[in-house]
Amino acid sequence: MRDLRVNKKAVAASAAIMAFLPGAANAAVDGETAFIFNSFSFLLNGALVMWMAAGFAMLEAGLVRKKNTATICLKNIALYSVAALTFYLVGYNLMYMDVTGFIGSFSPFWTADDADALKGVFADGGYSASSDWFFQMVFVATAASIVSGAVAERIKLWPFLAFVLILTAVIYPIQGSWVWGGGWLAEMGFSDYAGSTLVHSVGGWAALTGAVILGPRKGKYSKDGRVQPIPGANLPLATLGTFILWLGWFGFNGGSVLALGSAEAVIEMANVFANTNMAAVGGVLAAMATTQILYKKVDLTMALNGAIAGLVSITAEPADPSIGMAIIIGAVGGILVVFAVPFFDKLKIDDVVGAISAHLVAGIWGTLAVVLTDADATLAVQVTGIVSIGAFVIVTSTAVWLALKYTVGIRASEEDEVNGLDKAELGLEAYPEFGPSS
């Protein structure tokens, strides 16, 4: 379970009511009822987060070229499966079991332990073990999804999945243990409610090192170094993907209340839903206005990135801000993404879907923005968390990418890249009846 000290304010409040107001009209529900509602929240919100995998798949399928569509779809359903498997094999226990400060337990094969509940003994804020495992598992899949969009259209399938395996089995759980496992950053007071840093920046850092080591797609830069845009094949699909992510985010942030067994928890979850929605709204409108001013036209793909950036920005603290503040936090994310995309392009870092801009840049901003509304958070501690997790992921992911590069190789051959990975890796096309792929 995530550390109570970090973001279980609602549960603490409900426990207080249980202790001091047993006869009051709004008396807390009994332990079993709370257990049921808490588990229900993990399951339903977790299912919403699982659906974000569909959002990433559609967003990425829309922003790649036609010739790589089937491959990106396959990578998305495969990475979700790899992430789930590794979180069962080692990930969950590394992140949450007996965390000693820097790492949990290397105990393979997670198993559910509901012995107390089955005997009728319910801890405050209790929930069924598998509901928690499921909810935490879908988060690691999200981190892996972020990587696939950035390295799309040129990475080989199996080396990519090998990277995902290490990311989800080792890299993500170890840094996760530092905060949600109750490790050293949690002790220090680092605050990251649903994972602006722990999930989105981690995916973003891994995407960044991958995109740098892999190099840009053929044709992305002209001989004199100018950026040559490679428009996506299907913007309606990209839009659908963004809406799916937006929907899934209510589970991502809402479920991170980690409880539904008291009025306080329900109120907090409702506030989180409202703030999450309005941050995305701020991100969309700010990105639209920024592209209109800068380029005299609105760029749909930037508006989509703006929605994601707004959502990532509010993820570090979706409970405390007022609605107005949530809009501003999201809007700043939306503006940042519009400047970050051409910035990374100029650095010759070819990020097909803008994942680094939307998840890493907005993730850093969102983690810093916690200090605006959470009196307990300090800038120094937030920066410490961002930098230490960033350094850890940069070093470990770079090592894994390089190891793969110099053993099995990570980049598709030039011929395969020109012909499209669908034909090279899958031997089929996403749209075989719509003429030759470009």
Binding site: Y295, D299, T301, V341, D345
Partner: protein, 112 residues
């Protein structure tokens, strides 16, 4: 016999077909094509970077006619496909040597 080939704006295809049918033409072939002329291309912005659209979408129509019809066909295409804006297209007229209708084996004027 003449083969009239014209490059026109895509949204004018139905107007041109109707006008040609009205003067007795009962067959043409239309193809989606891309090209550039005096209109050149234009630039668009995608995710903060400019890129050139060098080839614009057009429709190519081809129809075989008796020589005495050619002038009227050209005139009809010109008046119906014209918007007055740059990029309206061009009409080309070729001499046509042989025509065969595959189903019956009829040739030349009988096959038109």
């Amino acid at each position: 016999m003449k083969l009239v080939m014209a490059i026109i704006k895509p949204f004018k295809l139905d107007d041109v077909r109707d006008a040609l049918t009205a003067i007795g033409i009962d067959g043409l072939t239309a193809t989606e094509v891309k090209g550039f002329g005096r209109q050149k291309g234009h630039t668009e912005i995608y995710r903060g970077a400019e890129y050139a659209i060098s080839f614009l979408p057009k429709i190519k129509i081809e129809l075989a006619v008796k020589s005495d019809m050619a002038e009227q066909v050209v005139e009809t295409i010109m008046t119906t496909a014209k918007t007055g804006q740059i990029g309206d297209g061009k009409i080309f007229v070729y001499d046509l040597n042989n025509v065969v209708r595959i189903r019956t084996g009829e040739t030349d004027a009988d096959a038109l």
